[in-house]
Structures are given as structure tokens and as C-alpha cells.
Symmetry: C2
Subunit: 360 residues, 2 copies
């Protein structure tokens, strides 16, 4: 989607992909694939480098930056975005509210954390979880904690206290080098089985809370000196507003901007990375709802049900051309409307159709 936004502006970006079957490689011509030493040569041919996920070696990016390659965002932002422990420390030091957290090197760290903050404890991966895999576990006691640690011994984990969440929100800020920023309307998200399932924009928040959320996001973008889209995930808890996570790239919770904003998050990311004027970020229709199309256990391929989904008048169907696997994000549907309920009903019908069922 980033590639398409660049092509619209007459720019043909080059893609460095991990594997031949990657979604982006299906859409972008002339992709270079990952092999030893390929990245440096690739980077040398590029005016500026950006990325679309966090499963990248930070050391590799730092080394590139040291040789004069222009990374946008730069490694200062990347480190905060890629490493959730580092992220929490940066946020905390700068006075943003974050959940209590601790590094986990072994079971004792979890037990110590629990004795201070109580059970249950949230365990999560410090780096982005592998695609299609869970990155968050809520453990109720020592036994459950030991089980997750044993099963995920290959992953670096962290502990945090469980939040009494009233609402989960994502706000997207886009920022040019030099500090010009724009903010998209706040979106509200609903998770299912540990993955983001539904995104509603605008979020149902009052003006005061809305202004507070936007201010936090703008302050963060400036504090990190980021370039491009910064997605700020926030919890409204019974104790107030806390910053959950950051992503320094176009975000799944901003896909609705394709259909409902004059400039999508993808186009504004491209504009920011190339230091071009940012486009307007307002909503056209009063409401937009996106539902992620996630692979189910029965292994049904949503692409087989494309005709039924396209028959849902007015729903926008996006499929990523991926092989169906349980838990894998295979696409999304967006609907816009005069109110959230109308848009959601339409999006739900299209999403259900892709799974060959009626909306629940």
C-alpha cells in the first residue's frame, strides 16, 4: 500500500523484501531479496530508506546510518519503536504515563514483579512477535508464567501489570523532518484472541480526552524526532490515560484512512519520508470501520469467497495475496457511513462473507 502511494506521485520505490512470497513483493516490481551483504549495496542506490515492519536487525540499520545512509525514521526512533523495554524507558523518562514493567531474564524477574504488582501479570515479547504469532500472554500464577517462559525460551520477554482497560485507542501522527506534523482522527480498537480485530474511527471520546490523546501523540512524535507515521497505542484505564505501544510506520489501525481521508497514512508516510508537504488528514464520511480478515482454524481461503464479499454493496475489500494460516492477517475490509453502527454492520457483513458465513 505504501508502494502504491509512491507510484501515484510518480515515484517508483525499490523494495528490499525478506522472501519471494512477501505481499509487498507481489505488488512492487524489481524487489531485491534478502541475502548476505545485499542490503548495503541496495541502500547505496537509494536516496532514503524506510521500512514497513519491525522484524529488522537494529544493529544492521545503525551500521547503515553510520555509513551515511539516510534512514527515515532514524535509528533513535527505530530503537524506541522496535525494542519495547527501551520504548517504555524513553516514555517514562520523558514523563509519559506507561504501565509498570520489568525486563524478564528468568522466572525470578516475573515472580519479583508479581510480588510488587500482584497477579495476573502480562508477559509480552520485547521485539515484534513473528507474523501470525501471539506476542502477549496474561498469566495468573507462577505455574502459568513458567509455562510461557519455557515455551517461548527463544523470545526475549518483558512483564507488565494488567491494566483495567476502559478503551483502547490508536492515534496516527505524521511528521516531516523539521517538525511539521499532522494528526489523523483518533481510532478505537477491539482485540480478539490477542490480535487487533476491529478499528472504529472516530473513537467515541469526549473533546477533553480527545485533545489529551492528540497532545500526547504530538509530544511523542517530537520527543522521538520521528519522520513518517508514528502510531501511538493508548489505553484509557480506570486510572487514566497510559501509552501502551508505539510503531514508527503505517499501522494496521490506520487502513481506514485509504478510503476516508484525503491523504491516506501511506501517502503521508511517503510524503514525510521524502520531506514533501503533508496532505490533509480529516475524515470525509462521519464514520469508518475496518475489520481485519484473520485466518481461521478451518483454513478457509477468503480469496475463494471474494465474490460474496464484493456483493456487499459499498464495502471495501482488501486481500493481501497471502496463503491462509490460522491467526494470519490475510486482508481487511473497510466501510464508511453516516455513523459507526452503519459502517460496522456493512464491514461485518463483508468480513463474514469472506469466511463463508453470515455476520455474527
Amino acid at each position: 500500500m505504501t508502494h502504491q502511494s509512491a507510484v501515484k506521485l510518480g515515484i517508483t520505490p525499490r523494495l528490499f523484501a525478506e522472501r519471494f512470497g512477501d505481499s509487498a513483493a507481489q505488488a512492487a516490481p524489481g524487489a531485491v531479496f534478502n541475502h548476505p551483504d545485499a542490503l548495503a549495496g541496495f541502500a547505496a542506490d537509494c536516496e532514503v530508506l524506510t521500512f514497513e515492519h519491525e522484524r529488522i536487525d537494529i544493529g544492521l540499520l545503525k551500521a547503515l546510518e553510520d555509513t551515511g545512509v539516510l534512514l527515515r525514521p532514524g535509528t533513535k526512533t527505530i530503537q524506541a519503536a522496535f525494542d519495547k523495554i527501551h520504548q517504555r524507558r524513553v516514555l517514562k523518562n520523558r514523563g509519559f504515563q506507561v504501565p509498570a514493567f520489568a525486563e524478564v531474564r528468568g522466572p525470578d524477574d516475573v515472580f519479583d514483579f508479581a510480588s510488587e504488582h500482584g497477579w495476573p501479570v502480562v508477559l509480552k515479547t520485547v521485539r515484534a512477535a513473528p507474523p501470525g504469532e501471539l506476542g502477549v500472554w496474561i498469566v495468573e500464577d507462577r505455574h502459568e508464567a513458567m509455562k510461557v517462559l519455557a515455551e517461548r525460551s527463544n523470545l526475549q520477554l518483558m512483564a507488565e501489570e494488567l491494566q483495567a482497560i476502559v478503551k483502547e485507542m490508536v492515534v496516527l501522527v505524521v511528521r516531516r523532518p523539521g517538525g511539521n506534523t499532522r494528526c489523523y482522527p483518533i481510532a478505537e480498537i477491539t482485540n480478539q484472541d490477542g490480535a487487533c480485530k476491529e478499528i472504529r474511527a472516530p473513537a467515541a471520546v469526549g473533546k477533553r480526552l480527545g485533545a489529551e490523546v492528540v497532545q500526547v501523540a504530538l509530544d511523542l512524535a517530537n520527543a522521538l524526532d520521528t519522520v513518517g507515521v508514528l502510531a501511538v497505542e493508548l489505553f484509557l484505564t480506570t486510572e487514566g490515560l497510559v501509552v501502551n505501544e508505539l510503531a514508527a510506520r503505517p499501522h494496521n489501525a490506520g487502513h481506514w484512512t485509504i478510503e476516508n481521508c484525503p491523504t491516506s497514512q501511506f501517502e503521508n508516510h511517503v510524503r514525510a519520508v521524502l520531506d514533501l508537504p503533508l496532505g490533509p488528514t480529516w475524515s470525509n464520511a462521519p464514520a469508518a470501520v475496518t475489520i481485519n480478515v484473520i485466518g481461521t482454524l478451518d483454513g478457509i481461503d477468503p480469496a475463494r469467497h471474494l465474490p460474496e464479499a464484493l456483493a456487499v454493496e459499498g464495502a471495501q475489500v482488501h486481500l493481501y495475496g497471502k496463503l491462509p494460516r490460522p491467526g494470519r492477517k490475510l486482508g481487511h475490509v473497510t466501510a464508511v457511513g453516516h455513523d459507526i453502527e452503519t459502517a460496522r454492520a456493512l464491514a461485518r457483513r463483508a468480513e463474514a462473507a469472506l469466511h463463508g458465513r453470515r455476520p455474527s
Copy 2:
């Protein structure tokens, strides 16, 4: 743009391009380039074939169809769309109003036509003109006619009577195999130096004329048994409505549908060609204006002025990544708004910015 619409639906189309530098080849991965005998092998790997311009050998397409390749639209439509003499005959035989016309094999055909219909005479190419070249000349007398015929001896020409044009309109119909059709709002176009310059949608026409235009377009789509987008260019003359030309593909006069319709002409073309349900074709905002960005004599590259154009708040800038040449279509800008004048002012500002000047 067709490629991007297919990718959105999880479909990765293969591209058969003429040259390496073609715009479409810059956007689509794995393009196959024109070389002897490549087309048959390419076609054998495809479920269905469609096209995006008319500079294709009809005989070649007919031969493909004879070997069982599925062409959408099929050669019946293609012949009427590619050959303007054949097109006029088909239209006339089916009772549609068309300008008087004649085949031109030599100067005498023009002189005979002029003695029946008077000067000036319109000379035009029977097949699509080469990209960036004029395909229409208005000749006032024998001398001017001889000059055009001599200079364009490599092209097959036709003569037609000059119309007293009140308005020039384009209406896009999209049709599935089996006959399901949808029609986009009528657009009104303005030409400059023989090329389409500005497209305004909706056209300023009354309900009765609007209904007549839509009926002509739907009748034509059905008469030709077309599949995909059929663009019908009509003149409102002082004598009434006449059909000027047809194009059986997404059309330059429909680019505004990207921003202002729930389903763009490109996505609906893809849906139709794959026999998938068509999407809605209504307008979101009350008005949309597209202005083509055409290469000027000074050879300025609009891409150099991208920052100024993107600074025009709310204008949608599309550049095609082509080398600038005088008369060449290098991109387009679209603006939507509450009325045509607001949208047009915005589009004009962005188009002027791309040429490094203020709007005229």
C-alpha cells in the same frame, strides 16, 4: 492504476508491456516485454486478458481468441473500439446518431465529402493516434487537407463533418459478462490543443438530457456485448446528441472516480473482467474536477514541482513517471468539492504548480 485495483483485491495481474519504460511496467512486477511470439505463451498462462490502450494489432487478438484465449472485452467489442470507421458503421446501423463520416483513401475522398457536407472538414485517425501525437485536424480547404494527408501518409485517416458542439460529455458504463451494468455520473470535458484538458463531474445537464445520455451508453454497452468499462464520448450539438467515440477500457475522463466514487473505474473494470460483482458508482462529494498534466514546449518536468503541487491543500496529484515531452500526458490532478467551481479552482492551482506557474 488497473494493476493497483487488482492488487487491492488480492489478485496479482501479469502485465504484457510494449517497452521497458512503460508507466505500467514501472508499477507492476514481472512484466513481460514485447518480442516475437511472446504473446501467445503469455496468454496461455492467463485466465483472462484485458488491455489498457488501443494500439494493439486486432488480428493478433483475433488469433488468440481463436485458440481459446478468453479476451474481455472480446474482439467484437475490440473491433468497434479500435477501428473508428467500423465503430461509426456499427453505431449508425444500430440507429445511434453519429456525425456524417467517410473513409479517406486519398484526397478525392476528402473533396467529395466536402462537396456534400461543406468545409471545414474534420480529419482524424481511424486507429488511436500514437501517444502524445494529435489524431484530429480541422481543415478549412483543399490546400490544408492535402497538407495533412501528405504529412500523415503513414496513418489511415477518415473525414467527418464539423459539429456545432454545445457540450462534450463522457459517460462510463461498466458491464459484466451476462449483462449486469452500472453507470458512473456523466462527466463534461474541455479540450485544449486537440487534447482532453479538463474533466468535470457531474456534467451540467438537465435530468432529461442526462437520462438520454445514460440510456445511449447502456444501449451501446449491451449492443456491443462489452465486458469491463465502456467510455462513451458524446457531443451535445445544436442539432441534438451524437455519439463521437467509444473506448472499451478505463478512460482518462474517469480518473476522478478514484477519489470520488466508492469503486473506481479501474476496480470495476477488474471486477467485470473477472466476472465479480460490480461496486457502487455514485459520487461521494457533489463535484470533482480532473485536469490533465500535459508536457509543455519548455520541457519542464512536473515531477520537479511536486513539492509545490502537494502544498495545494486537498488536491490529489498523480504523476505517471514518464519523461516529459511536449503534448505528452504526464499525469493528472483531481480535486473534489461542494461545487464544480471550488473543485476546479483547487485542481487548477495544483496543475499550475506542477508547471511552475500561477493558475491562469
